[in-house]
């Protein structure tokens, strides 16, 4: 006990070096432990990110059995539960899976509308629906959907008969729920078919309408009529909260086994699941974190060991006289060893728990910065092991550092001339240089350097390069000072002379330089890598997202979204409507077609300065050349007067294609010769006349004229619309300018379209009868100007084929751009209105979006909601960026930055304390110098210069080495799990973070140097002269 007290008194006596050793030991342990802790936490974060909002199929399974409704439930439940238990073990099932959502599904028919509707019981259905009335409690009570109630005129209390079920009593009417919610999403398509259609299109007596499901009590289905066929469906999500990291490896294969289980198949249970794609994705993402975390931890750990070795060497060296005293007093070898090592060893051991805690806190703090919110930071066994390794390394460093001192004889210790540490020799330098040269060579040979090959091994380059540069630089500094010696002797003033002399005397090079240069090399590299990756995340997030905020919306039926947005943002600078169509098959021009309002788009979309062409406004203007206005049809009927000169197939039908999405307007048959007035009804107009086309009448086919060619020559003399009971002609230009029309079938020979005083003449030459000669309204450019990623164009210039909103081919006039906002590498941007015209205004498969600026988000969202628009998902650029930064490589780069910054801080602290202590040992000398008449301020300046030169040199050399390493390998450092094809990434480190690093480092050094030199020189007293030079 008293011995421990003595050790502690000794530690306090050597406060400075005790503090350094303690801090460095803590840092080593913390760095070692933080890696695995952070790794564990980031894996959890990745796991959560990748499983959140996953569709059932990707993160769960759906099992179903079909058959007589009354009996299917028990087959399904027993089959699935049994098989799950078998596959995963009974105890694990409740941990791995959320409680199943059961459904029993039958179907009914409402004879009046001949409408079919599902009859469904689903677990807790009433809790997931908003409804008026009451929840069905007893058999044959039902909730009906709002849309069906409106169409069919149902009301609460009504009893539906002849539906295939016993009389069903309506107890309430529900509103359509959020179809994307996890509860409804798996079955939404079958339960809410009406949401997919234009409501009310089928009237009474119409055929084959589908109503939304009616929800009922379980007993309705349990007691279903025997003839009722149906299904029991079980939707089971995996339970992300209960799933451990260790479960993931086996989860995919086990789920596949479960899905393909023979047992279930024999019982008629069909299971669908693709969990293995998700687990593979998770594991892939994890792999991207593992190696960088390991390398980064190793690098920082090595640096800590180096620091520890140096600090302990100094401390043990400082204890040399005490060790000698112990020997003098006849302490045995073992006792002397204990006496000599007890201080650093106790420090190391004390640092273990503390470092662990600090590592845990640091990893936690880092996690809060960049991991998914609420990610827990657990301490895995690996962290303890790593901390143990760090401590063991520290002990080894202690023993290595101490052995010289412990072996030294008493007389040697007391009679040593000066305290010059032995030259460290060239062995260490040789090893470091060879190692780094070999490392760089290896990377050079494998082609990782300077290439965009992502290789985590490149993370070793900064460490290797930093070390190599550091050892060389540490030799150079004394040499340079020796060279400057003469000069300062003559001209540099006394202070500079004294400072330079001191540095020059260190033959073995300054360890301080090594430590500082190495750690600043790591830090500046880490800052550069981090800044570059953040900049790239931002760039990619901006282009992926397209705009600061992207709202996916559903406008209320029958209302135009652009009109609503126009009202919310009349100046057109804050919000833009974007039609987003994702083609499942793709086209040569891209998979995603974005229809935009050019000028609004130019205001709202991201267009980073690095994009070419750089002027988005000019580009936007090129999207909308002004063609003639469309021919808008109003009223309830149209008629045309046509003079036929020649029609090789008399009786051809003339149809007007209009943009209502409904059937073309059938105008009637043409005679072989002579004038005729044709007429047809207009339903659902105003609408745009897209084209007029000639189609075969059924008679042609009967007459076996399939292989005949058609030749036409006719003149359209007038087009009139029946509005408010009167016939009114369409504007004259549509008949008196050939420019308002163009050929619809691009065949050979081309059609001939001319305008004359009599009207519009149209000549068609030899078109096969199977095709329809078409006269198209030139209401949009023939080929839509489109912004297409240059990578996709691969140098093509002529028109290319894209897809319209119906998934059909759309001719595009490409304008190559760096990347397309919203769909960087595979998107096409066209004018929205033209694209809608080119798609017959068919929105079935279009995601309607509103892009807004960040500032306007809340106002626009509120306005949209007020206008009845349902805002589905909201995606923000910031969110996308955060998600990218939360992937493996992003997490690794943050860890690297944090670790390297901590190491640099530590190195600076250790370096300053080291210099301080060495200067303190020279106080005798300073006292002598003062006694010889040198002014105190000169001494202070000398010390300040010495500190500044040594510290500044190490720092600057280190930063330069780090930036050199960055230039070599930054491209090879993994940044993404999957690299975007566009836009091209930028690898020039932004200047600001580096300037901040340099500024912080230099000001910290300057402040510390000033404090150290001032306090040291003011502590010099002349009676120190009496003390023996220690």
């Amino acid at each position: 006990m008293t011995q421990l007290a003595a050790v502690i008194r000794g530690l306090l006596h050597r406060g400075g070096s005790t503090l350094v050793i303690f801090l460095v030991s803590i840092a080593a342990v913390a760095a070692a432990a933080a890696g695995p802790i952070y790794y564990e936490a980031s894996r959890t974060s990745v796991l959560r990110d990748l499983t959140a909002n996953k569709p059932l199929i990707s993160w769960g399974f759906e099992a179903s059995v079909t058959g007589p409704v009354a009996g299917v439930e028990s087959i399904l439940t027993s089959g699935v539960i049994g098989q799950l238990d078998l596959e995963f073990g009974t105890r694990n099932v409740s941990r791995l899976f959320k409680p199943p959502i059961m459904s029993l599904e039958g179907s009914g028919n409402y004879p009046l509308y001949n409408a079919n509707f599902p009859v469904v019981w689903r677990t807790d259905e009433c809790a997931h629906l908003r409804f008026s009335g009451t929840c069905p409690q007893a058999a044959n009570q039902i909730l009906v959907g709002q849309s069906a109630a409106r169409v069919a005129g149902w009301h609460t209390g009504q009893v539906l008969r002849n539906t295939g079920w016993p009389a069903l009593k309506i107890t309430g009417i529900y509103q359509t729920p959020d179809l994307n919610s996890p509860y409804w999403a798996p079955r939404a398509a079958s339960y809410f078919p009406a949401e997919e259609q234009v409501i009310g299109s089928g009237g009474p007596g119409g055929g084959g309408a589908s109503f939304d499901a009616v929800f009922t009590a379980r007993s309705t289905l349990g007691n279903a009529p025997a003839r009722q066929q149906g299904a029991a469906v079980m939707d089971v999500y995996l339970n992300s909260a209960g799933i451990r990291q260790s479960d993931i490896g086996a989860l995919g294969p086990k789920m596949t086994d479960f899905t393909t289980s023979q047992n279930l198949a024999l019982q008629g249970v069909i299971v669908s699941s693709q969990v293995y794609t998700t687990t593979a994705q998770i594991e892939g993402n994890w792999r991207t974190i593992a190696v960088p975390v390991l390398l980064v931890t190793l690098e920082v750990l090595t640096l800590s060991w180096l620091l520890l070795f140096m600090a302990v060497s100094d401390a043990v060296e400082a204890r040399g006289p005490e060790v000698a005293l112990a020997k003098l007093r006849g302490h045995g070898r073992w006792r002397t060893l204990v006496f000599g090592l007890s201080e650093p060893v106790i420090l190391l051991l004390a640092a273990l728990p503390l470092g662990m805690v600090i590592g845990w806190l640091a990893a936690g703090a880092l996690g809060r910065l960049d991991l998914g919110p609420g990610t827990p930071t657990a301490v895995p066994g690996l962290a303890w092991a790593a901390a143990g390794v760090a401590t063991a390394g520290g002990l080894a460093a202690v023993i290595l550092a101490a052995q010289r001192t412990l072996r030294r004889g008493v007389v040697q210790e007391f009679r040593r001339s000066g305290r010059r540490g032995a030259d460290r020799g060239w062995v260490m330098d040789a090893i470091l240089l060879t190692g780094s040269a070999a490392g760089l060579l290896e990377l050079g040979v494998t082609g990782r350097i300077g290439s965009a090959h992502s290789g985590v091994l490149s993370l070793l380059v900064p460490g290797l390069l930093g070390m190599a540069v550091a050892v060389v630089a540490s030799r150079l500094l004394p040499l340079a000072c020796r060279a400057a010696y003469e000069w300062t002797g003559k001209r540099g003033g006394l202070a500079a002379f004294l400072a330079i002399r001191h540095i020059a005397r260190r033959a073995g090079g300054t360890r301080t330089t090594i430590v500082l240069a190495t750690s600043f090399a790591l830090t500046s590299f880490a800052v550069a890598a981090w800044a570059v990756s953040q900049a790239n995340y931002r760039l990619v997030a901006q282009t992926r997202s397209g705009a600061p905020v992207v709202l996916t919306v559903t406008p209320p039926a029958g209302r135009s979204l652009p009109a609503i947005v126009d009202r919310l943002d009349p100046r057109g600078t804050k919000a833009a409507v974007v039609d987003n169509f994702v083609s499942l098959t793709g086209s040569s021009a891209g998979d995603v077609t974005l229809g935009v309002d050019p000028s609004r788009f130019a205001h709202v979309a991201f267009w980073p300065g690095s994009f070419r062409p750089s002027d988005l406004n000019a580009l936007a203007r090129r999207l909308e050349p002004t063609p003639p206005d469309p021919l808008v049809l109003t009223g309830n009927a149209m008629r045309m007067r046509v003079d036929v000169r020649k029609l090789s197939l008399p009786g051809e039908l003339l149809t007007a294609n209009v943009t209502t999405g409904a059937t073309p307007v059938n105008l009637g048959s043409l005679p072989a010769h002579g004038a005729v007035t044709l007429r047809g009804p207009l339903v659902g107009c105003p609408c745009v006349l897209e084209s007029l086309s000639l189609g075969e009448s059924g008679k042609d086919i009967q007459r076996g004229l399939i292989n005949t060619a058609v030749n036409v020559n006719l003149t359209i003399e007038s087009i009139e619309l029946h509005v408010d009971g009167r016939w009114r002609p369409v504007p004259a230009r549509f008949l008196h300018s050939a420019a308002t029309w163009r050929e619809g079938l691009h065949d050979n020979p081309p059609d001939k379209i001319t305008a004359g005083p009599r009207g519009l003449s149209w000549q068609v030459f030899t078109v096969p009868v199977s095709q329809s000669p078409t006269l198209a309204s030139a209401n949009r450019p023939a080929a839509l100007p489109a912004l297409i990623p240059s990578t996709l164009l691969r140098g093509r210039t002529g028109p290319v084929a894209g897809v319209n909103f119906e998934g059909n081919s759309l001719a595009l006039e490409p304008i190559g751009v760096t990347a397309v906002p919203g769909a960087p590498g595979n998107g096409v941007i066209v004018d929205r209105q033209y694209a809608e015209l080119a798609s017959n205004e068919d929105f079935t498969f279009v995601n309607q979006q509103v892009w807004t600026t960040a500032a306007a988000e809340h106002r626009i969202v509120a306005g949209l909601k007020a206008a009845g628009v349902v805002v589905g998902s909201v995606s923000t650029e910031a969110g996308v960026q955060a998600a990218l930064a939360r992937q493996g490589p992003g997490l690794a780069s943050t860890l690297f930055l944090a670790d390297a910054a901590a190491a640099a801080l530590l190195a600076v602290g250790a370096a300053i304390l080291n210099l301080y202590l060495s200067a303190r040992r020279r106080r005798y000398e300073y006292a002598a110098l003062e006694a010889s008449g040198i002014k105190r301020s000169t001494l202070r300046r000398a010390l300040l210069i010495e500190l500044a030169v040594v510290l500044g040199f190490g720092t600057i050399v280190g930063i330069a080495a780090g930036l050199g390493a960055a230039a070599l390998v930054l491209r090879a450092i993994p940044e993404f799990v999957s690299y975007p094809s566009a836009p091209p990434l930028v690898y020039t480190p932004p200047a600001v973070p580096l300037a901040v690093l340099l500024g912080v480092a230099i000001s910290a050094l300057v402040v510390a140097s000033i404090i150290a030199s001032t306090s040291l020189i003011s502590g010099v007293k002349s009676d120190q002269l009496r003390e023996a030079p220690a």
Partner: protein, 309 residues
């Protein structure tokens, strides 16, 4: 060389015995000969002051006795043990039990951050005594040297005299048979020096500790039974009861006292003339005969003081 019976007896009871002790420092090429043939015996319970100019080899001698270094040649025996081939471990054991040492530099003898009593305990710590016994003994020692009042003050904050007394107490902590003290009163004022000397004397009288003390302080010489003057790596003179004697070395060499060097300055040739109870030295150039050839005659005695640097 046969020893007289008297001398043999002395050796048997000698605490320190050395014979033809040579100590050469340094690596080949850069050698410093610190001792060049020292013959010295210190009897049990004797108090001896080692005098001599700085660089004469006094400290070296002490280190040899303490087993901190091994002699280049010659024999050292301390407390009946041959130190030439003693192991480091045995030497440590000796320093613990039998040889106390006060080093030349006062700061070197103490752990500055430890209390006075802590320093004494530190010296005792390897012994097998019970902690209580150790404490009692330490307290007693401090009491004896008059430091009881500052027993718990860190040694680094004691005055020079107190530190030096404490150093002696620490060296005496385990009741050694031999105390080696290297300039224990240097850097001290007269009163403090006197206190240290009293302490040493008391230890000798009370415990019978053999004392070998390097000093420049005439007061020490007076207080001690014998003075031995080391010059140029040899025992030059011995003083007993205030009287100074020359010591004839094994090779017959003698070192003249410095005051006689005026008469026979270094480099003079002298003629040794046998007289009834000894030898008289006469300067060859002063007794009329300038014939140097005669001096080189085969029957003439070899010149004394022949060591030339």
């Amino acid at each position: 060389m046969s020893e007289t019976p008297e001398r043999e007896r002395a050796t048997a009871t000698a605490t320190v015995h050395c014979d033809g002790l040579v100590q050469v420092y340094g690596t080949p090429g850069l050698e410093v000969t610190a001792l060049r043939g020292v013959d010295l015996d210190v009897a049990e319970g004797e108090t001896v002051a080692l005098l001599g100019p700085s660089g004469a080899g006094k400290s070296t001698l002490m280190w040899l006795f303490a087993g901190l270094i091994k002699p280049t040649a010659g024999v050292v025996e301390v407390c009946g043990r041959r130190m030439n081939d003693i192991s480091g471990r045995q030497a440590a054991k000796m320093r613990l039990r039998e040889v106390g040492m006060v080093m030349q530099n006062p700061g070197r003898n103490l752990l500055p951050y430890e209390s006075a009593i802590g320093n004494v305990l530190f010296a005792q710590s390897p012994t097998r005594r019970t902690p209580k016994a150790k404490r009692r003994r330490a307290a007693g020692l401090l009491e004896a040297i008059g430091l009881a009042s500052v027993a718990h003050r860190p040694a680094g904050r004691l005055s020079g005299g107190e530190q030096q007394r404490l150093a002696v107490a620490v060296a005496l902590a385990n009741g050694p048979r031999l105390l080696l003290a290297d300039e224990p009163t240097s850097q001290l004022d007269l009163r403090s020096a006197a206190a240290v000397i009293d302490l040493l004397r008391a230890a000798n009288e009370d415990l019978g500790t053999t004392m070998l003390v390097v000093t420049h302080d005439p007061a020490v010489g007076k207080a001690f039974q014998r003075t031995v003057t080391i010059r140029d790596g040899r025992v030059g003179a011995e003083g007993r009861a205030g009287e100074e004697f020359l010591v004839v070395g094994k090779d017959g060499s003698i070192q003249l006292p410095t005051d006689l060097l005026e008469v026979l300055p270094p480099g003079t040739l002298a003629r040794a003339v046998r007289i009834p109870d000894g030898v008289a030295l006469h300067r060859a150039d002063m007794d009329g005969s300038g014939d140097l050839d005669a001096l080189r005659g085969p029957d003439s005695t070899s010149p004394a003081g022949g060591q030339r640097p």
